[in-house]
Amino acid sequence: MRLIEQLVEWFDARLQLGSTIRETAEHPVPRETASWFYVFGSAAVVVFMLQIVSGIMLALIYVPSAGEAWNSLQTLNHEVSLGWYARALHGWGSEFMVAIVLIHMVQVFWFGAYKYPRELTWVVGVFLLLMTLGMAFTGQVLRFDQDAYWGLGIGASISSRVPIIGPPIVNLMLGGPIIAGATLSRFFALHVFVIPGLLIAFVAVHLLMVIKLGINEWPMPGRVVRKATYVKEYHELTRKDGIPFVPSAVWKDLFFAAFILIAIAVCAAYFGPFGPGGEPNPTIIQTAPKPDFFFLWIYAVLSLLPPSMETPALLVGPVIGIVLLLLLPFVSGEGEKSWQRRPVAVLLILLLAVAFGTFTRRAEHAPWSPVMGAWSGMPIPPQFLRNRTALERQGALVFQAKQCHNCHALGNEGGERGPALDNVAVSMTRDQLIRQVIQGGGNMPAYGKNLSPAETTALVTFLQTLHPPGQPPARDAARDAANGPAGALSSPVR
């Protein structure tokens, strides 16, 4: 024991860091901040450290070459002892890191911690969020599979829409004319050198400000932030009712960080690594690329926006979002911190959470994508075929053969791009059905050129059988009146 003490003394006499570290560790923090709500920032740092360690582990084997990356991932998964676990840790670590950074940000917003004098801490935090998302996206690219390949294509297509400089940005992003070796190399450089370097620097500044300015006090209704008096009030609070950060507050951070690390380890062991999916071969077009979890909501937004809104929303939306985040502490740098006095802030959090959740849920389901194999792989349920005439069954065949099933469901099977057709005969007359099939419209292609008159007749006759048992199909009353009830020239078959 004496020896250790002597060693510590020897080093401290030369490093001169001991007193600074002790002061920093034991600096007083407001009593209520020793709370389970204040543990997310430190947990993000711990997960970041895990990402650095596991990332270095992966770099020992991974080959950042378009020709070899996918194979090296297979080697990691299947041949290197516990290589799959290193990949799983890094992958799950990234999911947890994005989640914790987001939760941390919500908590800071909820507690009004971005207000004076912590505006810059918030601004640096916004950049840290962007960098974390940047790490998630570039990491997804390094998992160089089909999703990564086509995801890059989507990124390029979005970038190309920037006016004037769009195409050069695409070349710069891809490192050439197509997604290939140069593309992977530059994303490797971003993921391994550029963004982590910036992250470390920004985290350092972020932490320094937290220590220098003091941790945000627990918001109380009526305790209003004023620039003239805040710093004095804060110091009085920590002096009167403060506790040393170490050990009084830090133990919760330690426990939570350990809990998160265990959660990551368990997820990694139980669920395993993410992919890689199919090999990144651009000539294999039987693929339906989807982004990783945290970008799914963008996938949904891109599908649901009207086409004319899309380019402005894609290019201007993120800029507005980031600018709003950056401006927030300057617009509302003073005033109440308590959520009890900030209903708009609370509603905003709820709205964003619901929107994010809804879009993500929709994207997991992806009703806007045609089910490419429905026409050949999903039979029409028998109840739609029983007791039908030959012509009607012929129409059902046309329905399958012409890929109608890819976009229209019958009996909950098939695509959901267009409406389900289980009861279509109730809402559309025969003439309306014919017009819709031939001319399309309302987001449906026109089939006029690809259906013979006989096929159209059969298809529409089949569609007219699609109504509930007790409910007759729609009919054109004007036509019935003109032709007489009995002598209907083109009366519905059923």
């Binding site: 070459s65 378009a66 020709g67 070899e68 390949y149 086509w150 294509g153 989507i154 390029a156 297509s157 970038s159 190309s160 829409r161 920037v162 769009g166 195409p167 050069p168 695409v170 070349n171 710069l172 891809l174 490192g175 050439g176 004319p177 197509i178 997604i179 290939a180 070796g181 140069a182 593309t183 990144p280 071969n281 651009p282 000539t283 077009i285 039987q286 693929t287 339906a288 996938y299 891109l302 599908s303 926006l305 086409p307 004319s308 899309e310 045609p370 490419m372 026409w375 053969a401 012409k402 890929q403 976009c407 791009r417 987001n443 449906m444 292609p445 026109a446 089939y447 050129k449 690809n450």
Partner: protein, 182 residues
């Protein structure tokens, strides 16, 4: 009352400022070639070097009245590109004389479209863009038809001009005229 050292200090301050300026100039000189290196993918493409003519295949591979998938090795390719140097396109032989060659990339966000001969439609798996057999937009989020490559017939072969992944913002080097009616 100035001390004897004052003039000395201001001279040193001037030298320090000069030193900073000197470093700034050197940094700028160093940066010029590095920035040009960084922008080489852009400057290279501006000279039109990415697009070139090459034979896609024998004409017999593309029967009249049919649309078939064809693949080629991109004319601009590196040794380490692996399979990413292979690119696919859809070739439509309209009547044996007239052709259309479409990039597989959807005009919305670049996902690979699939051809369904029975309904005569190209469908995109990502956001549900649909195109008619002549490449024109049928429905869904795309704002335009499929990207078309220039083509020519020489020595019994189908030649196309390609080399750069088409994106909605980039149309140079890609046939942009209205596709002929089917």
């Amino acid at each position: 009352m100035s001390s004897p050292g004052d003039g000395d200090v201001s001279r040193r301050a001037l030298l320090m400022k000069l030193g900073i300026v000197f470093n700034g100039i050197v940094a700028a000189i160093l940066a010029v070639p590095l920035v040009r290196y960084l922008l080489s993918p852009v400057s290279h493409g501006r000279k039109g070097a990415y697009q070139s003519w090459f034979a896609l295949g024998e004409l017999e591979q593309f029967p009249a009245g049919q649309t078939r998938l064809a693949t080629y090795v991109n004319p601009v390719v590196n040794l380490w590109d692996g399979m990413t140097g292979d690119v696919a396109c859809w070739v439509r032989n309209i009547d044996g004389k007239k052709f259309q060659v479409f990039a597989v990339n959807c005009a919305h966000l670049g996902c690979p479209v699939r051809w369904f001969p029975q309904s005569g439609l190209f469908m995109c798996p990502c956001h549900g863009g649909v195109y008619y057999q002549d490449g024109s937009r049928a429905s869904g989020p795309p704002e335009r038809g499929l990207f078309e490559h220039h083509y020519k017939l020489e020595n019994g072969k189908l030649w196309i001009k390609a080399g750069e992944m088409p994106t909605p913002g980039m149309v140079s080097g890609i046939a942009t005229g209205k596709p002929p009616c089917a």
